[in-house]
Each structure stands twice: as structure tokens, then as C-alpha cells.
């Protein structure tokens, strides 16, 4: 949670997911798994121990046939900012194994430092954090597709979505080689954004008014980044987690499913 004085203007990378476009196809989940060397095991049907940094939830309006409606809600790590980087998980980690980077707004996870106390998982209301209950094992030969950009994790540590932080580093390196001072919007995109066949995911710098993410939701800096766009919402806005993942929908019930409301509230 350190301020980086070298950065004149901090970036704040965020993601917008258009739920009207999302079809629940799961490409984001697999794009993430293959980008980030996420392991798999024989039975992955127990979703409580299945590592999916990006998870697509199937949400219904709860009405009977034929009025039922379905919406898919993809849920990466929200990279909560809380107030001043005080995200639910970062502040609780005893070993500083997860950190809020003030320069990018990305919540990192240092696998080699994490000793597996799982306090961060208890703190995260989005279930975005996953524990390596098992040794990651790839069938013989399959380890050949592992990417060197992301280190495979060991048993006993927590992992989660990093907004493909390694891609940010690669983009910065590339810009440096090409003699550019800054990276462009398109230089750094997450694997899920890139793969989404429906084009439902937009990624960029929320602090930059030229970036699409900023234009789509118009985050309100006076209210901890709450979206000004009436069709945009964040999951569990009321908890004050101040997430950097926004959702767009035209359906009122979907918006309402994003947070808890009392009966008399509208």
C-alpha cells in the first residue's frame, strides 16, 4: 500500500463487462486459464475447490416458467480499491503477500511469499481468491504449453486474477524498446478481454478520460468511483469495497442482483 512518488499520474486499470452482450460462453474463463497456467484436476465439478480466476455466474430472476430470465455475470478479481487502497484482502494479509499497487490499481499476489493462511479468502466477499488445495499436476507432456510469463503456483498458496499484470509489464517493455514513454490503450489488454467472442469486456485506465472504460461508465471520483452511467453498476457497491470491475446492463433486475437491498429500498 505504498505510494509511488515517481508516478506523476497514477493509472487505475479497470474492466467493464457488458452483461447484455455476455453470452456465458465461458471463453473468458478458459482464456484466463490458458494465459495464466491455471492447473486442473480430474474432477472439477466441485466448484468450491476449482480454481477459476475468472468465473462466470449464471444468475436468474427467480421467476417461474415462462417468465424466467437468465443473466451471466463474469467475475474476475474486482481489484478493490476500498478507501485509499484499503481493499478487503490487502489489509488483512499478515505477510504482505498481496499488495495494492497505487501506480496501476492492481491487487497483486506474491505466491512465493504467501504461506497459505487464507485470511484474504475469508475477507473477499466475491470469492475471487482461490487456494491451491492440491499440488498442481499436468499430465505428462502437457506442461509443454505452460507460459513462462506466469509462474505455476505451488500447493498451499492463494492465487487470483491479476488483470494479467505480466501483460502490462510486457507492454511497458515493448514501449520502452520502441522508445515510447507511455503505453497505449490497446497495448495492455487482459487475456479475457482479448478472447471474448461477444466483445463484452472492455479494459483500460479508468483515470484516463480518453479510454473507453472511463467513457462507458463515467466513474465518479467524488463517490469512490461510483458509476455515473445509470446502466452501470458494481458488485456489492454498498460494502465500500470500491471495485474496479463495472457491469453494464439494461435490465433492472440484473442491476439489483448486483447488490443487497432492503425490502423497502428501490
Amino acid at each position: 500500500m505504498k505510494e509511488d512518488p515517481n508516478h506523476i499520474k497514477a493509472r487505475k486499470f479497470g474492466m467493464i463487462i457488458d452483461l447484455d452482450k455476455c453470452t456465458g460462453c465461458g471463453a473468458c474463463m478458459v482464456a484466463c486459464m490458458s494465459e495464466n497456467n491455471v492447473p486442473f484436476k480430474e474432477d472439477e465439478s466441485n466448484k468450491l475447490d476449482s480454481i477459476t480466476w475468472m468465473r462466470v455466474y449464471k444468475v436468474t430472476n427467480g421467476k417461474p416458467y415462462p417468465d424466467m430470465e437468465i443473466c451471466y455475470i463474469p467475475r474476475p478479481c474486482m481489484h478493490c480499491e476500498g478507501s485509499h487502497g484499503h481493499s478487503p484482502c490487502v489489509s488483512v494479509c499478515p505477510a504482505t503477500a498481496t499488495d495494492y499497487d497505487q501506480a496501476t490499481g492492481i491487487v497483486s499476489q506474491i505466491y512465493t511469499r504467501c504461506f497459505g493462511c487464507r485470511y484474504c479468502m475469508a475477507a473477499c466477499p466475491y470469492h475471487a481468491r482461490y487456494f491451491n488445495w492440491w499440488d498442481p499436476v499436468w499430465p505428462t507432456g502437457m506442461e509443454q504449453y505452460l507460459s513462462p510469463n506466469v509462474s505455476p503456483r505451488m500447493r498451499g498458496v492463494v492465487e487470483k486474477c491479476t488483470f494479467c499484470f505480466h501483460r502490462y509489464q510486457l507492454a511497458k517493455d515493448r514501449a520502452f524498446y520502441e522508445g515510447r514513454k507511455t503505453i497505449e490503450e490497446g497495448d495492455y489488454q487482459t487475456a479475457c478481454t482479448q478472447a471474448c467472442p461477444a466483445g463484452a469486456i472492455t479494459f483500460g485506465d479508468l483515470n484516463n478520460p480518453h479510454h473507453k472504460v472511463n467513457q462507458l461508465v463515467e466513474p465518479d471520483p467524488k463517490h469512490n468511483g461510483r458509476p455515473k452511467n445509470p446502466n452501470a453498476f458494481r458488485l456489492l457497491e454498498r460494502l465500500g469495497t470500491n471495485p474496479k470491475v463495472y457491469y453494464l446492463t439494461s435490465r433492472e433486475w440484473v442491476k439489483r442482483a448486483g447488490d443487497n437491498y432492503l425490502k423497502n429500498e428501490d
Partner: protein
């Protein structure tokens, strides 16, 4: 004791604890059983994915010689950077444990999984010996081939091989493309492929087509759906189940399954009655309209149709008006992912709707595309034995008598074989197909295959059919070979893609094209002469000719300027006009599912999910990981049941029940789902494999074990959309 304390104190004060803790930290980071991916030079190879007929461009990221990630190709006309879940998982197939690593000869009983690796020379000579034997017995027509591909050089090589060898029995795996083709032939009078200009449609009326379930070219359909949304277009889904497509549609219209043709005709009734149709098209460029008009007016009033379809007559009327008045309306059909050809009546009725609103060969409509003609090899010259063999009737009955329009009827193959005595087919070649898993009524397929003494599979993976074969001649995977990819399903512009080797072949596999050429050469005579190429790559190079350069550079060739022929020139019927044919309606419009309603009160419909590959390729581990726990839990599959139906049957969420159909029986779990009509149960396709690896095998039930094909009276193609069923407590 004091010694002990002394030692403890000494150790604590020495640097030893620090060293130990430090080492521990390092050791826990580098456990020898956790792989450390090797770093190296990054490169990208552009290619085309052939895991489904979608034909997406892919860009594969490599580190040195290893492929590490598959991404969508950004400038591809089909998928523009997007990619589907299966395409993303491709490297798990390439490097996975299910690869067949060399030619294998069966040792134990069929399907026992005992194999002996043999050399390619041995393998080919074994095949050639068998084939020579058959020809010397004057029975070349006892060879059959099942191909997953219909077009392209490999399919053509196989066809050519069969023709010069003397067998008419080339069968391809059927899909809705066959039905569309037949429809175009009957109504437009052309032998063409259906191209759907979905990107420019303003209103998409889908009759149970899973446009977001993997229908057509999946990524293209996803993109088109988002574009429709951006353009404030409308999408209406007619389906008995709230599929993903229905969920994303502006309107979901639940319908009694199998009555889609009735609804289409009901809509036609309103359009005709209220004169909402395109006068320009109907009056000037169509024939048989009056007949058609009389037909729908007589039989398909909204009230009648409401009765059959379960869709309210007011909805029918409103829908017809919306559709006819919309800008660029488009009606499409073909259930789910479109793997089953379906009832021809549906296609004709829906195509008639398109004709009524005049969107044939128009922007945002249904185009007819000429079949690709880049393969221009000199005609093969069969010798006498071959000619005799070719004169024999096809085993599946296609192209003959009742089925004279249809080119291939794989669905009739098992039945044809099982009803005959002896072994009508002696040798079966299976290429890019897994019929033992993908065709309905797996039991009868197995029985049919049992009657074939020698089955050869070209599969790269140990799928169900490969496991049950006698000889395996593994092809390179799509990431290790050159191959032309013709016309992504439903794409509306002439298109050829080129699959390129991304990595060197990992194992002792060989390109099926090369194997066919080698077989032909070994058979000598006219057969050998018909295959003048030294290798498949040479054949491909020659075939592609001038297109090769652009294909190598861009990965695809497209005729972007292509526009379909105008109405004046488009129709090749004798009338030179579009014909509102009634042929398929002379039979009962509705294809009834197998089984009687008194014993089997429910209807079982298979459903497709884009997260479950249900064609010849099984789900790789990544994909199966994304399957929800209300679809698969442990080894159990869930069927979707309306809570009302479940209540009547006294079945609760998560409970195990016995699902019985006229074809089979299985234990399933109940998932209460309000998105399905009462009385219907839905089961996912793509589970219940018994081959492949531990990540996929023995999970769930293959719905093809429970359903049977139903022959369409006009086309002979499989028209089944479900089967009657019974659900009882365990």
C-alpha cells in the same frame, strides 16, 4: 540436560536457523514436481482452427518450439480476434494424453484398448493387402468411408480414392448444412451452400437455432449478436427451453418442441393474410405463391397453430407483423449447434418466410453461395472393377429412389447394415469423425460396426471410434499440418482458410492426405495414376495455385466483393423463379419422436452448450472445468426438469432418477429449471464419453445412448429432435 540447552542456545545464536528458513522458503518455491516453464524467444504463427466447422483464424503464441497459447486472429473476417472456449483449449489436445502417437494395430478384443505399435510401412501394407483382396473378389463397393468433412482437399482425396477404387460409399457426417442445401435446391433451384448475412440483419427470428450455443461459425455468431445489440436490432428466439440464445434474445417464445414448421407457416399465414409480404419479390420472382397461400390459409390460422405449438395466437400475430415490418428481417432454423439435419419441412417453411419478406440473396438475408471450385483435378478414371463397383447402390440409399436429392445419409448406414445378413461392408475408413459417439442410438452403431470386419480410423485422438477400430493411422493434429478449410458454416462470402503447422509433429503421426496418396500408389494401376502427387503438401500447393501466396501470408482467402446473383438471375428452377414448394408438407409436417405417449409421458430433448464440445472432439480439461455443477457433478449428469413436472413426479433438486426412453435407460440427477416447458426434460449433449482421458471419460451420459434417429420422409436425413421418455424415482 545442560548440554541440550547449550546446543539449543548455540544453534539459535548461530546463523544456522536463518540459513534453514531461507532454504525452506526457496525449496517450497521450487518443488521438483511443480514445473518451471522454460523461457525463450516469443513468436506467433497464424493458422485456422478446424476443431469445428467455424473456420476461425487463430494466432498461436510460441516460446521457442513450444506452443503456449492460442488466441483469435485479429484481422480474421470470421472471428476478428475473438475465439471460443474450444479453440482456446486446443493446446490441451495437442499436448494431451489422448493423442495417438504412432500407427497402432489392435491386439485384444475390439475396444479392449490393447494395441501394438507398428511402422507406417506395415500399417499401409496391411490396409493395401485388405483392399487388394476385396478388389480381387470384385467387391470394391464393400469399402465405405465416413468423413467428418464434406469439402476440401482431404475429403476430395478420400472421395477420389473411393471412386478410383470402386466404391460409391463415401458418407459425410450430416448437419443442418445438408438441409439448407436441399432447401436451396428445392426452392432456389441451385446446388449451393447457404450463406447467412447475419451481420447486416436487423431482426433475427431464430427457430430453435442456438446462435449463441455454437450454431454456424460460433464466434462469428457471437460477434453478430453483439453487433445486432449495438445497432438496436432485435432478436427473437423460438425454443422450448430457455437456452443461452433464448436468454440473450429480446424475446423468448417457448414452443412445443418439433412444431417450429407449424409456427413458421402460422406466421406466413398472417403475413400473407395481411399482405405484409414483399410484393416486388413475390409477384415478380416467385412461383407457386397462390398454392402456398391457399395451403397456409387453409391449415395454419393462428388459432390452429396456437393449439399445436403452444404459442398464443396473439403472440403469433404480433410476431408476424414485427418480423415482416422490420428492416432486414432474417429467419433462421436448425436446432442447437446444428449437428442434426432436422425436419426438411422446417427449413422449407422458414425459407418461405424469408422469401415472403424478400430477403433472399439480399443484404442481411439468406444467400446462396456456389460450391467452392478451386479443386480442379483431372477427372479420375476408374478401371473396370471400379466401374462395376460404382454401379452398385450406395449402402445408405442416398441419391436413389426416395432419397434422390440427398448425397449422403449416414444416419441410415447403421440400420442398412444391421438389416442385412452377412458383411455388406468389409472395410470402413473413418476420417475426422467419431460416429460411435456422435450419431444417435449408439447401440445400433456399435452393432453395425461389429458387422464390419476391418475398421480403420485416422483420428489423432483416442476417441470412441478409434478405440473400437482395428487399425489406427493417426493424422497430425490441426496444429501440426497443412490443410485447406473451406467455407465456415453459414458464412456468406466465398472463403478458404489455411491451417498451417504451428509446431513440428510431436509423434509418429502422418497426414491423412499423405496416407491416402500412399495407399493409392500402393494399389497401383488407375488408382495410383489418379494420385500423381508425391505428397499431400504438393497436392495442396498445386490445388491452391495462385491463392497459395495470399493464404500463406494472411491465412485465408476471401472474395469480399462477392454479391449473390440478383433475383432475375438467381433461380435455376424451370420457372426461373423462386418456388414456394409444398413437397415436404405433403407428408405430415411434424416429425414425431420415437415412443408412445402412454408409456413415455415426457419428452426428452438434447441441448447444446458451447461449453460442451459434442462433435468428434471431446471436451479438453479446461472446458470441462467450466461446466456448471448443475450440469455435471462428479460423474453424474443433471437433466433439466420444470419444477411443476418434478413435483408431479415427486422428484426434488439433486435427486437421482431413472430416465427411460425407447432406446435406452440411464441414471440421471434432477435439476429444477424454470426455463423449460413442463413435460419436457432436457439433457446436455457432449458428456458420457467412454474414450479419451480421465478428465473427460465416464462423466455423465451420452444422450445419443438414449435417442434414436427419425428419418425425414422427404430427405431421408435424420430429423429427430427428441424422444419420448419416462422419469421415475430410483
Amino acid at each position: 540436560m545442560s548440554l541440550g540447552i547449550g546446543v539449543a542456545a548455540g544453534t539459535t545464536l548461530s546463523p544456522l536457523p536463518w540459513k534453514v528458513t531461507d532454504d525452506l522458503s526457496i525449496w517450497t518455491q521450487r518443488w521438483p514436481w511443480t514445473p518451471v516453464p522454460e523461457d525463450g524467444e516469443t513468436s506467433h504463427v497464424n493458422s485456422v482452427c478446424t476443431l469445428c466447422p467455424g473456420g476461425c483464424g487463430i494466432s498461436v503464441r510460441k516460446i521457442n518450439d513450444r506452443a503456449v497459447k492460442i488466441e483469435g486472429m485479429t484481422d480474421s473476417q470470421i472471428n476478428d480476434g475473438g475465439i471460443c472456449i474450444l479453440g482456446l483449449s486446443g493446446l490441451q489436445l495437442l499436448y494431451g494424453p489422448t493423442r495417438i502417437r504412432s500407427p497402432l494395430k489392435r491386439m485384444g478384443k475390439r475396444g479392449s484398448g490393447k494395441w501394438e505399435p507398428i511402422s507406417w510401412e506395415q500399417a499401409i501394407s496391411t490396409v493395401v493387402q485388405k483392399l487388394d483382396e476385396l478388389r480381387s473378389q470384385e467387391r470394391p463397393h464393400a469399402v465405405a468411408c465416413i468423413s467428418g468433412q464434406k469439402n476440401g482437399t482431404v475429403a476430395e482425396l478420400l472421395k477420389r480414392f473411393l471412386t478410383t477404387y470402386g466404391s460409391p460409399n463415401f458418407m459425410h457426417v450430416p448437419s443442418i448444412q445438408d438441409s439448407y442445401e436441399l432447401t436451396l435446391s428445392m426452392m432456389n433451384g441451385v446446388q449451393a451452400m447457404a450463406g447467412i448475412d447475419v451481420e447486416n440483419a436487423g431482426y433475427v427470428l431464430s427457430f430453435s437455432s442456438g446462435t449463441l450455443e455454437g450454431w454456424g461459425s460460433p464466434v462469428r455468431m457471437f460477434k453478430a449478436n453483439s453487433k445486432l445489440r449495438d445497432n438496436k436490432g432485435k432478436m427473437v428466439q423460438i425454443e422450448s427451453r430457455l437456452s443461452n440464445t433464448a436468454a440473450k434474445a429480446d424475446k423468448w417464445i417457448p414452443i412445443n418442441p418439433g412444431t417450429e414448421a407449424d409456427l413458421a407457416l402460422g406466421l406466413a399465414y398472417v403475413i400473407v393474410q395481411e399482405a405484409l409480404y414483399s410484393r416486388k419479390f413475390v409477384e415478380n420472382y416467385s412461383a407457386g405463391f397462390n398454392q402456398f397461400k391457399a395451403f397456409v390459409i387453409n391449415g395454419y390460422s393462428p388459432n390452429k397453430v396456437a393449439n399445436n405449438t403452444g404459442v398464443d395466437s396473439s403472440i403469433i400475430i404480433a410476431l408476424a407483423r414485427d418480423f415482416a415490418k422490420a428492416a432486414n428481417p432474417l429467419a433462421i432454423c436448425g436446432r442447437g449447434q446444428g449437428d442434426t439435419p432436422g425436419p426438411l419441412a422446417e427449413f422449407v417453411a422458414v425459407h418461405a418466410l424469408n422469401a415472403l419478406v424478400g430477403n433472399i440473396n439480399q443484404k442481411g438475408g439468406i444467400w446462396s453461395l456456389p460450391e467452392p471450385n478451386y479443386i480442379r483435378w483431372p477427372a479420375a478414371e476408374p478401371d473396370e472393377t471400379a466401374k462395376q463397383g460404382l454401379r452398385e447402390k450406395r449402402i445408405d440409399g442416398a441419391g436413389n429412389g426416395a432419397y434422390s436429392h440427398t448425397r449422403s445419409l449416414l444416419n441410415r448406414f447403421p440400420e442398412a447394415l444391421n438389416s442385412q445378413k452377412g458383411d455388406a461392408i468389409k472395410v470402413l475408413l473413418v476420417s475426422a469423425a467419431n460416429p460411435l459417439y456422435t450419431l444417435p442410438d449408439t447401440k445400433s452403431i456399435k452393432k453395425a460396426i461389429d458387422k464390419i470386419p476391418f475398421v480403420i480410423s485416422f483420428s489423432s485422438y483416442m476417441d470412441e471410434t478409434a478405440r473400437y477400430s482395428d487399425l489406427l493411422l493417426p493424422n497430425h493434429t490441426y496444429l501440426e499440418r497443412f490443410e485447406d478449410v473451406v467455407q465456415p458454416a453459414g458464412f456468406h462470402q466465398p472463403y478458404i482458410g489455411l491451417s498451417k503447422p504451428v509446431v513440428k509433429p510431436l509423434y509418429l503421426t502422418r497426414h491423412t492426405g499423405d496416407v491416402v496418396i500412399a495407399m493409392a500408389r500402393a494399389l497401383k494401376g488407375n488408382i495410383s495414376r489418379a494420385f500423381p502427387w508425391k505428397s499431400y503438401d504438393e497436392c495442396l500447393k498445386q490445388t491452391l495455385g495462385a491463392k497459395l501466396n495470399s493464404l500463406m501470408a494472411k491465412g485465408y482467402w476471401i472474395d469480399e466483393k462477392y454479391t449473390p446473383p440478383t433475383w432475375a438471375k438467381a433461380f435455376k428452377k424451370t420457372s426461373k423463379k423462386f418456388e414456394f414448394t409444398l413437397t415436404p408438407f405433403k407428408q405430415p409436417t411434424r416429425v414425431l419422436p420415437k415412443g408412445d405417449a402412454s408409456t413415455f409421458p415426457l419428452l426428452l430433448i438434447p441441448y447444446d452448450s458451447v461449453r460442451l464440445a459434442n462433435d468428434r472432439i471431446g471436451d479438453p480439461p479446461f472446458m470441462i472445468k467450466t461446466v456448471e455443477d448443475t450440469v455435471l457433478k462428479g460423474k453424474d449428469v443433471f437433466v433439466e426438469v420444470n419444477p411443476k413436472t418434478a413435483e408431479e413426479l415427486k422428484l426434488a433438486e439433486g435427486k437421482t432418477a431413472v430416465l427411460t426412453t425407447p432406446t435406452g435407460k440411464a441414471n440421471v440427477k434432477i435439476h429444477l429449471f424454470d426455463g423449460i416447458r413442463p413435460g419436457i426434460i432436457a439433457m446436455p449433449k457432449g458428456l458420457g464419453h467412454n474414450a479419451y482421458d480421465k478428465f473427460l471419460a465416464e462423466k455423465g451420459i451420452n444422450v445419443n445412448d438414449l435417442i434414436s434417429p427419425v428419418e425425414d420422409a422427404t430427405s431421408g436425413l435424420d430429423a429427430a429432435w427428441g424422444i419420448r421418455a419416462m422419469l421415475s424415482k430410483l
